[in-house]
Symmetry: C2
Subunit: 363 residues, 2 copies
């Protein structure tokens, strides 16, 4: 078992994972790119972890704003941050990465492993590292203060895919002692394309953007915002995502199947399943358009799906239209700055080459 683990990210998820691993006796190096998130933990000399109604104080091995320092001499690196920081983290640590290290992106959104790999490779790092993506965060959890976190729920099963895919079992051997919930995905394409945020985040914001800017009370994001017509477009986008998965030979759940499996809900269509999902009842819409639902999920989720589709010759007109309109509204080039083929390091590859690359890591 790994006795030292680096956790990058001191938000809700990272703080929970760091404290939980520490509670199992692991020496945890906790790092955040924004050192103000660490100040409370340094002052408290650790994290108060609340789990199953019991609160314990967990000391850490090291708390640092320096990624390279955090990962030095550590075999397993857990990255628990919004996906738009993956590239920044890679840029901060590429020269410190060494052969055999394993980076697990929790979660990777879509194409996270490739984005991370392409960044360190383009900086000249040739260390033989393995990068894995989880499909979603293992916990439902929330920081309750600057040095305290509560875990409300632990998911029963979370798929994990390594890059290259032929190393997935090695990564699970490292993780399963702490997290038996992680199971093998076919590859990173499966975890990447299982990203439900790509469906439930950008489109409902786009189709309610006038309301978000005008109604400062914050309507109910799912129940009021995903009306029948919004659900129709999400479903059209879901069909495109499923077609991309099929083209690359991976099996993923449709949004409807995922809702049925993940929640105690019912209904004949996507709209009804969302309306009957009580877990979504109280989720409020953002009160400004500067919400990660777009600024993260368009470049880090929709863009890579669209680019993988293009390589496979699968049309994604609705995904492309959402990328286009949000780019115009936000006055940003989400495709160029996001996980486009160039930034994933797969520009010019054929579908067969991409598949081979995911499987073996060889170009």
């Amino acid at each position: 078992m790994e006795k030292k683990v680096a956790v990058i990210g001191a938000g809700n998820g990272g703080t929970a994972i760091a404290a939980y691993l520490a509670s199992l006796g692991v020496e945890v190096n906790l790092c955040d790119l924004f050192p103000q998130y660490l100040e409370g933990i340094i002052a408290a000399d650790g994290i108060d972890l609340t789990l199953d109604g019991k609160t314990t104080h967990q000391r850490l091995n090291k708390v640092t704003g320096d990624v390279a320092e955090a990962i030095s001499g550590v075999h397993l690196i857990m990255v628990v941050t919004p996906s738009f920081t993956h590239r920044m983290i890679a840029e901060r640590c590429y020269s410190a990465l060494t052969d055999g290290q394993v980076v697990v992106l929790n979660p990777g959104r879509t194409g996270g492993a490739l984005d991370f790999l392409n960044t360190i490779r383009s900086k000249g790092c040739h260390a033989d590292i393995t990068i894995a993506e989880t499909q979603t965060l293992i916990y439902s959890c929330r920081k309750t203060g600057p040095a305290s976190v509560e875990i409300f729920g632990v998911k029963k099963e979370v798929a994990l895919g390594a890059f290259p895919a032929n190393r997935t079992s090695q990564v699970l051997e490292l993780l399963n002692p702490y997290y038996p919930q992680f199971t093998a995905a076919k590859n990173c394409m499966e975890t990447s394309l299982s990203n439900i945020g790509a469906l439930f985040h950008p489109t409902p914001v786009l189709l309610n953007i006038g309301r978000i800017e005008n109604d400062k009370n914050g309507y109910r994001y799912y129940w009021d915002g995903i009306t029948p017509s919004v659900a129709v477009l999400i479903k059209a986008i879901d069909h495109e995502r499923m077609a991309v998965a099929e083209a690359y030979g991976v099996e993923i759940l449709s949004a409807e199947e995922w809702l049925r499996q993940s929640y105690d809900t019912y209904g004949d269509n996507l709209y009804e399943l969302l309306q009957h999902n009580n877990a979504y009842a109280d989720i409020k819409a953002p009160t400004t358009i500067e919400a990660r639902y777009v600024t993260e999920d368009v470049p880090m989720s929709l863009v890579p799906i669209s680019e993988l589709a293009r390589i496979a010759g699968v049309p994604t007109p609705n995904i492309d239209a959402v990328i286009q309109l949000t780019s115009s509204i936000y006055q940003r080039d989400f495709r160029a700055e996001g996980r486009c083929a160039k930034n994933l390091g797969i520009e010019g590859m054929s579908k067969a080459q991409v598949t081979h690359f995911f499987e073996t890591g060889e170009r």
Copy 2:
């Protein structure tokens, strides 16, 4: 002066024009595709016209549901209907059209003259007719009952373009005795691309569609619905429309210029100009998505702009994205059913051929 005029359409605009022409001593044949609109006028033996605070009863020559009957022996035909009926009207009257007749579409939206012409030609009608488009309806008016109409305002100047353009002065000679407000546009491309509905209708509905379906009170369409982000996208679409006009060598007003010229408003940008336009204060949003703002303005306004752009090699990514997303949401192929190049009869033409066609009517 024309002593006989056919008016097709017994809605607000058509009823007003029919009554006004009758008040000038013209023999008016009034027709509507939906005969129930005519019943009240038949029963009342005419129309009560209120203008400048005075109400007069105007008798008509003929009131009929048969377009062919209405236009028989009439030189000037005024079509005052939603643009999605233009094709239906052409289909009902193609065999009755005769050399020298003039059809004026009030207004044509975008590509109305070509759509009408292509329909009668594809039915085998080779009569030498002239079709003109006006940029907008001449009146602000409202039917106040089944056989009464009030004219609130008359626009000072309305551009009119004939197809072919070299006949515009002949059409104005017919119309100006009744309506000196009509002035010569360069051609139908100018009237078509001056269609402000293409800007102010589909996009604000799309970006508020969740709210339209959820908020049954009906928010204020312009003031609450065109927020800064919505205005940003309208402006991007306006840039595309202006680029198409430039490619075809016609001068049109930008949305901002048009607002400044048409209304007593002010502001540094499109958002402010709309917010400061008191004429828009009380206009309510539709309470269902089955609104002409999309079902008419996407196929009849955005589609022809996009298709003319494609022929000219002008990119219209935002217009195309709005067409794509509304088509998916409404589960209709707005491009195929709308004024695409095929339905305009210009498929396969080059930009130079289209320009020549608008000018001379010759392919």
